[in-house]
Symmetry: C2
Subunit: 159 residues, 2 copies
């Protein structure tokens, strides 16, 4: 008989974790890309990997912030104790990643400019923390206002 | 006022489309990788891109068959008329990709050895065709029997 794993509970400071994702979003903005960053942390607070949306930089539609951070962390055997931190509510693509690999906790910089699947993740047992970080909101607000076509392309909204 | 887009309906032969994904799965198997392949087709049957799971080959946990095919297709402005073909029922990560980018139709080689999110996709308006391709079943059955640890790693099942 198998026993259910203990649920993950975030014990780290979400604002501290967010800083790593924000740094990636800012770097993406300076590169002319979509300003969304992410980072994957171990349960003890060690940074496993960080990344950013690189649709523009690499001309690659498959690289969202979360998938880039997940890739940078390399092959892990168990994600239950890890924390995915992202500057923006994760889209369905990235929410699916979090659910499939059983990432235990998610910290979100803001869900004001875009709402993805974080409520769905919560329903499926993920410990979700949604912040309302004004810097994250400002980064996305400016980007969406100045480059709406690129933003719609990135979230699959057709003309 | 916006009007709802017309629903996509698969008008191509699913078995013919599947051949491109199977070829990728077989190539992956010969490379020592996880034998799952995928292909993205335009609505008129043109192949936009194909790919395969490359966790082993590239030591990259972010490359599933569907995400590799999606990347190979490059940046597309509208996925509603496209068809994602995969040898295996798409996991939540790949199901999330399909939903986020509004891929209109999905063809699945088999859902016997693994069931991902294809019913969820159907509920959200995706035209889903599930085949029961014996060659796809055989590829995965042999792989799961001989390399269960690698398979569990790929779908996020911890020990």
């Amino acid at each position: 008989m198998s026993t259910s794993p203990k649920p993950t509970r975030l014990t780290l400071d979400p604002e501290e974790l967010l800083a790593a994702a924000v740094a990636q979003a800012e770097l993406g903005a300076r590169e002319g890309g979509i300003p969304i960053g992410a980072a994957l942390f171990a349960g003890n607070g060690d940074l496993l990997g960080s990344g950013r949306n690189r649709r523009v930089q690499h001309d690659d539609p498959s690289v969202h912030g979360e998938t880039d951070a997940f890739r940078a962390a390399g092959r892990q055997r168990d994600y239950r104790s890890t924390v995915m931190v992202t500057t923006l509510s994760p889209c369905w693509y990235c929410s699916g990643l979090i659910r499939q690999f059983n990432i235990g906790a998610v910290v979100i910089g803001e869900s004001v400019t875009f709402t993805g699947g974080h409520e769905w993740l919560r329903e499926h047992g993920v410990d979700v923390t949604v912040l309302r970080d004004q810097h994250c909101i400002d980064l996305m607000t400016e980007f969406i206002e100045t480059q709406p076509d690129l933003w719609n392309e990135d979230i699959g909204v057709a003309d």
